[in-house]
């Protein structure tokens, strides 16, 4: 390694690190309650759809408004508002990873990632369930 190289390498690396430090506002994974403690801050929320409460989506009046209730593993609950179309498998999802900000009365969601059972073919419990379902319904 030559001196010029080292100088350049350090320079470039510094540039990258500098840009990172300058701009990166890394987010956190949160529960409903911990997200409530930092209102307005962009967080990742892992929760489940609360099936006992209504899912509101009326694509004719507004295809860009979805609201539902989410509950996390610690029992924290929140209303979620998502200004986008309703993901097709929302009701079937087992887990929802949402990004967005907690407001006074709801979680303003920017992005939804669904984890659906059918995608988990390698998950043993799920397979078991599928087999039992398929073979008993026939």
């Amino acid at each position: 390694m030559k001196k010029t190289h080292i100088a350049l390498l350090v320079g470039i690396a510094a540039l990258i690190v500098g840009m990172l430090a300058f701009s990166a506002d890394f987010s956190t994974y949160d529960t409903v309650n911990s997200a409530r403690n930092k209102p307005g801050k962009f967080v990742h929320l892992i929760a489940k759809l609360d099936k006992s409460k209504p899912v509101e989506y009326d694509p004719i009046n507004n295809p860009n408004y979805l609201s539902f209730y989410a509950v996390d593993s610690l029992g924290g609950q929140t209303k979620v508002v998502y200004h986008n179309s309703k993901p097709a498998d929302l009701e079937k999802s087992e887990r929802i990873v949402m990004t967005g900000k907690m407001n006074a009365d709801h979680f303003e969601c920017k992005n939804i990632l669904l984890k659906c059972p059918s995608k988990y073919k390698d998950d043993k419990e799920q397979l078991q369930k599928t087999v039992v379902d398929q073979t008993t319904s026939n």
């Binding site: 390694m1 030559k2 010029t4 190289h5 350049l8 470039i12 690396a13 990258i16 840009m19 701009s23 990166a24 506002d25 890394f26 987010s27 956190t28 994974y29 949160d30 930092k38 307005g40 962009f42 967080v43 990742h44 892992i46 989506y57 694509p59 004719i60 009046n61 507004n62 295809p63 860009n64 408004y65 200004h83 986008n84 179309s85 097709a88 498998d89 079937k92 990873v97 990004t99 900000k101 407001n103 303003e108 920017k110 984890k115 659906c116 059972p117 059918s118 995608k119 988990y120 073919k121 390698d122 043993k124 397979l127 078991q128 599928t130 087999v131 039992v132 073979t135 008993t136 026939n138």
Partner: protein
């Protein structure tokens, strides 16, 4: 208990061949290693002979295993877990291969197969100058990798720990369900689970094999680097390995972009690249491989950069395995649109061991030999080509490290001490920043600027030392031309990407200039310096292609336009501003199209005309008519159909597949973001009957119906009756309050004692019209039903991607450039070269530009 109807022989055979291959790969490793350290020529030779046999036994075994899995899946032998999980009877034949590599075991097997093919080529061509003398150490590495990969599918128990997941396990042994208590359980399993709907696509058939060939082939530079250290012929390995490294870069590059094309054209991600962890994990090895390619070329020309070539060759495979670790152990679970599961602790630990040995092992070996690797101690001149090539490689390498460092965020949270430390100081587990794509893009755009400029002017420098006059003579003209072209582009077709502010917009412009610069300088270099000798111009062609691809990405993403904006049709009140940022940044990108009602979308008037089912069960296509009308004359200047579809799977999960209208200059890309589930749309309204005669009028809430006449046994586009039938069709004109006229033709058919009504639906008016029966005199009974809910609609998202074809064209040119270089460096004869080039060119053009 004796079970009925099982076919146990193929599984037993399969299991036998897995164990045989596994043992053979271990023996091949030992024998090749012994041969590689053996001084005595005679002994060495006999070890080599044995090692080859062992390796070929492993190869044969791998192909037989594959054939048996194919047999299980194609014959729907659901007593086997693998066939049950991945095959199904309705699965089209062309997806049989796809369903094999859908599973973890199958994709490991694919990797094994490619290593087998590469290893076999080595053995067959062992007398060729590029392999002679390298076979033993190189094959030691390949055999050793096979040992690990085969272990992943071994499926034997040592005490209570299962080593690997065999593809030949039986369903009844894997799953607890009451039916397996019955001897005839197989009769209850009607069908397998089949291939995931998202994967039923021809890309699923070809993308994994190409990508895995890319991954598998990175073992060759790795193995040669190892061989260089082991044989102490520290610099000799570079020349023979270069064509392999070029091959690998071409295949891996194409494989990655195939994934992008797939995502673009058939998944609803809305683009070809999203910085998803899985995409990143395959890009990183490619970047390091390309860095290594350049340092190898530098070494061959000047003797510099040998140590860097070692490092990059080792790390390329190292990061392939790190990707495997990221994507197969479930550690990325919450961060990716791809779904991962962890295949169990035992597999995870094996992957970690494999990774540790192939990542850390060579680094230690490299470190211990570091001082013995020859290096030139005089510094490179800053006016030499090798200096800037090295800098470029370094930039690629650092870019790779940056990408993988960010992609690995979920890993940090799980590290024992560091994870706790993060939680404490960061206030929770670390996650991506709010605008994660921009987070990558702002750095990558910088990289594009540096690489564009470097790959542009470095060609006009000579190795070692360049006369100023020579450099100036070459570089001035292309620089002027590219500056002019860039200026022209900016004036004629300015970028509209203002979302991230002026600073970023200027950066994008700079990057566009840099890529144009690289494109022009490299293209002109082929004529001005190489005098048009295309076979020598592989490097320039690859650079020009790469630059074109990046330029295409810059243009298509900067001027990407969402045309399905809800605000355009007045149906929706804008939701307003984000209360936090005070910016209007809520995505309002979905538009609801009511059947038969033309709706404004960008420059187009779009009508959802009808839906139709595909030949797969549960698949529904929505036919959308796009029309561009001249505002003044009202004439239609452009008209086409786009038919995105929605697929409802057996388990009721839905998958949405886009459809694209491709022009040379732009793509109109549309997918269904929400569609009504038929079951949820039960209509409760009732028909109201009125009696009317020809010429009479009936009313509904939004207008009138006029009966024009009644036709007996109509034979037209809609109905086909012969005079012997008994059918009556009413010809009705519906006139809405706003003056719009519609035609309705309900029909009643009498067969024997039964009458059947064929209602007509006017979706735009929410109106059902029924021919309910005949009445006295000349009157007929008309049923009118007005639904209280909209009958049929679909919500879509639609983008215009301008000049996206530049991306694919650039990729093709880059791949061909790499192949040109490979042919040149591997000394293929003209006939071989022609065959390779024609095949590659036809294949690439077909896949990326024509097949859609």
């Amino acid at each position: 208990m004796k079970f009925e109807g099982e076919h146990l022989l193929p599984g037993q055979l399969g299991h036998f061949f897995i164990i045989l291959s596994f043992v053979a790969s271990l023996l091949a490793t030992i024998a090749y290693f012994t041969a590689s350290v053996q001084k005595d020529a005679l002994l060495k030779n006999s070890w080599l002979k044995f090692a080859r046999k062992a390796f070929l036994v492993q190869v044969g075994g791998a192909f037989i295993i594959f054939a048996i899995i194919f047999y299980l899946c194609s014959n729907h032998l659901y007593e086997y877990m693998y066939a049950y999980k991945h095959a199904s009877k309705e699965l089209e034949y062309k997806y049989l291969l796809a369903c094999i590599w859908e599973g973890q075991e199958g994709s490991f097997l694919l990797w094994i197969i490619w290593h087998s093919v590469l290893g076999t080529i080595f053995i067959l061509r062992r007398k060729s100058p590029s392999i002679e003398g390298w076979e033993a150490p190189v094959m030691t590495v390949i055999s050793f990798a096979q040992f690990f990969l085969l272990m992943m599918i071994l499926g034997i128990y040592i005490f209570d720990v299962r080593i690997g997941n065999s593809p030949f396990t039986l369903t009844r042994n894997e799953i607890n369900a009451p039916i397996f208590g019955q001897p005839n359980y197989l009769t209850f399993i009607k069908d397998g689970m089949g291939l995931n709907i998202l994967l039923r696509n021809y890309w699923m058939v070809i993308h994994p094999p190409i990508l895995f060939l890319g991954f598998a082939s990175t073992i060759i530079p790795f193995a040669y680097a190892y061989a260089g250290l082991q044989t102490k012929r520290f610099g000799d390995w570079v020349k023979p390995v270069l064509p392999w490294a070029l091959f690998s870069a071409a295949i891996l590059g194409v494989g990655i972009m195939m994934g992008g094309k797939w995502a673009y054209e058939s998944l609803s991600f809305g683009g070809y690249w999203a910085w998803d962890p899985v995409e990143n994990a395959s890009l990183v090895p490619w970047l390091i491989l390309v860095a290594g390619l350049h340092t190898m070329v530098v070494y061959k020309a000047t003797g510099h950069s040998l140590r860097a070539s070692y490092l990059f060759s080792f790390l390329t495979l190292g990061f392939v395995l790190y990707s495997t670790f990221l994507t197969r152990t479930g550690i990325l679970g919450d961060t990716s649109v791809h779904s991962f599961t962890d295949a169990g602790n035992s597999i995870n630990n094996m992957i970690k061991t494999f990774l540790a040995i192939f990542f850390i092992g060579p680094l230690i070996y490299f470190y211990r030999n570091y001082s013995r690797i020859p290096a030139i101690h005089k510094e490179e001149n800053t006016n030499s080509r090798e200096f800037w090539m090295f800098i470029g490689s370094l930039v690629f390498f650092l870019t790779a490290l940056f990408i993988i460092a960010v992609t690995s965020i979920p890993v940090y949270n799980k590290l024992p001490l560091i994870g706790r430390w993060i939680a404490k100081f960061h206030g929770g587990p670390l996650a991506m920043p709010e605008n994660s794509e921009f987070f990558y893009n702002k750095i990558i755009v910088m990289v594009a600027i540096i690489i564009g400029l470097l790959s542009g002017f470095a060609q006009y420098l000579k190795y070692k030392d360049t006369q100023k006059a020579y450099f100036r003579k070459g570089i001035v003209l292309p620089t002027v031309i590219s500056a002019a072209l860039a200026a022209l582009l900016f004036v004629v077709y300015p970028f509209t990407y203002r979302k991230e502010g002026l600073g970023f917009l200027i950066t994008i412009y700079t990057a566009a200039f840099a890529t144009i610069y690289s494109l022009i300088t490299n293209t002109m270099y082929i004529w001005s310096v190489l005098k048009g000798k295309v076979m020598n111009a592989g490097g320039s062609i690859a650079h020009a292609g790469f630059a074109l691809m990046i330029l295409g990405m810059i243009i298509s993403s900067s001027n990407k336009e969402v045309i399905s904006n809800s605000r355009v049709n007045g149906l929706t009140i804008p939701v307003g501003k984000d209360p936090m940022t005070k910016q209007d940044d809520n995505p309002q990108d979905n538009l609801t199209l009511i059947r038969q009602l033309p709706t404004r979308m960008g420059d187009y008037e779009v009508t959802y005309q009808k839906d139709s089912s595909g030949h797969e069960k549960g698949r529904k296509f929505f036919q959308l008519l796009f029309q561009k009308k001249n505002a003044a004359t009202g004439k239609t200047s452009e008209s086409f159909h786009i038919s995105p579809d929605v697929y409802v799977m057996k388990d009721n999960n839905m998958s949405s597949n886009p459809d694209t209208k491709s022009y040379l200059s732009k793509d109109i890309f549309t997918y269904v973001s929400y569609a009504l589930n038929d079951a949820n749309n039960m209509d409760t309204a009732q028909f109201k009957e009125t009696e009317i005669a020809e010429g009479d009028t009936a009313f509904y809430s939004n207008g009138i119906l006029v009966l024009n006449g009644v036709t007996r046994n109509p034979n037209n586009e809609k109905y086909h009756y012969s005079p012997s039938d008994l059918a009556l069709m009413a010809d009705i004109t519906v006139i809405a309050k706003d003056g719009a006229k519609y035609k309705a033709t309900p029909l009643i058919e009498v067969k024997g004692m039964e009458a059947t009504n064929y209602d007509d639906t006017l979706y735009a008016q929410n109106l059902f019209v029924r021919f309910a029966g005949v009445s006295e005199g000349k009157k007929i009974k008309i049923g009118i039903k007005e639904s209280d809910r909209l009958i049929d609609f679909v919500t879509v998202k639609s983008f215009v991607f301008p000049y996206i074809n530049l991306v694919w064209l650039g990729l093709i040119i880059m791949a061909l450039g790499l192949i040109f270089s490979m042919i040149k460096r591997a000394n293929f004869n003209n006939k071989q070269a022609a065959v390779i080039l024609v095949l590659a060119a036809v294949g690439l053009f077909y896949m990326f530009l024509l097949a859609n």
